[in-house]
Amino acid sequence: MSEPTEEGRERTLDRPVTRRGLLKYVLLGFSAAATAAGTLTPVVAYLWPPRREGSQSGERVAIASTGDLPVGTGQVFSVNNKPVLVVHAEEGFKALSAVCTHLGCIVAWNEQRSVIACPCHEAFFNLNGAVISGPPPEPLPAYRVQVEGDQVYVEGAES
């Protein structure tokens, strides 16, 4: 590689920036800055301390107001990243894990028949989580529910 001579280098520096040159530097600079920002932003955000400790912490979560769940209805909510079925029964609120103990499908509340149904293999559970019929080997684990004012809270996500 031939080194540019001292005079040559000076001449390059003395020359005023041309229109083409300016455009080139602006576009190159913008590309470089955009690439760096696009790469570094996710990495720095990744390293930043995460918001929640996640599924291990069984902290209490407000899921709905009593008005959202009239008597006889049920809905699946995300509690500490686990799906939880909350049913408003005659005797009060019930919360159960919504993961079917058979093969892990998400169960749903069947309003007409007042049972918890798994859509995958015709499995049915009662409101205590016990298996009425179908292949599940175990009952659905229960969660603690609390009602304060008109807010419904679900506590814990065991294991």
Binding site: R9, V43, P50, R51, G54
Partner: protein
């Protein structure tokens, strides 16, 4: 000299190091080797792409190791945590997983190019051998990394994959125990695979990559067809 002030700052930094270490000439000879005309083709980039993917794997792997927990109790949950709670965790893990697949694909594509252009022939036999070792290391990366999520797919994939070692005559059983850290896939297998994946394989790969690159610079790229 007013000259000094006018020179580019990059040149001045370079001169500062040159004054002390005097490595400009050998470095330039190594780094500025012109690429022959017949090699300026996309299919001559496959090896470089494999290397780029390896670097990406290194960076994303280090990032994943900051949240991953290599124990049977915590591994799967820590991966859920990365996917759901860590900002861009899904992205980093996704890049690591996809680059792993792509790296093997690029490795094979690169070998195919070397084979078709006959670049493995004398005097480059040993670089082909180094390349085959690098392919095996890449596959080993894939195999050990597959177990780490500790889900059903990982467990059975590793069970079936490692069982192949068990059919080696006479010493098969012993080799299998050595790989798994016991007769079955357990937490011991996991820490074993984790150590191999994070420490043993990267070191070996860097050594063979170094050899691969030094040899190709020394011998030059093979001639046109």
């Amino acid at each position: 000299m007013e000259n000094t002030a006018q020179r580019r700052w990059t040149t001045r930094v370079g001169d500062w190091f040159e004054e002390r270490f005097n490595v400009r000439r050998p470095l330039e000879a190594f780094l500025k080797k012109p690429v022959p005309k017949h090699a300026i083709r996309w299919y001559f980039c496959l090896g470089g792409l494999t290397f780029t993917l390896f670097i990406i794997q290194g960076i994303t792997g280090i990032l994943l190791s900051l949240y991953y927990k290599p124990t049977p109790e915590d591994a799967y949950d820590s991966i859920l945590f990365i996917m759901n709670n860590v900002r861009f965790g899904w992205l980093i893990r996704g890049i690591h997983s996809w680059s792993a697949t792509l790296m093997i694909a690029m490795c094979l594509a690169h070998m195919l190019r070397v084979y078709i252009t006959g670049a493995y022939k004398r005097p480059r036999e040993l670089n082909w051998v180094a390349g085959v070792v690098l392919l095996l290391l890449t596959l080993a990366f894939g195999f050990t990394g597959y177990l780490l999520p500790w889900d059903q797919k990982a467990l059975w994939g590793s069970t079936v994959g490692s069982e192949i070692l068990g059919v080696v005559p006479l010493v098969g059983e012993a080799l299998l125990g050595l790989l798994r850290g016991g007769p079955d896939i357990t937490g011991l297998t996991m820490t074993r695979f984790y150590g191999i994946h994070m420490l043993v394989l990267p070191v070996l790969t860097f050594i063979f990559l170094g050899a691969h690159f030094i040899i190709i610079r020394r011998q030059g790229i093979s001639g046109p067809l």
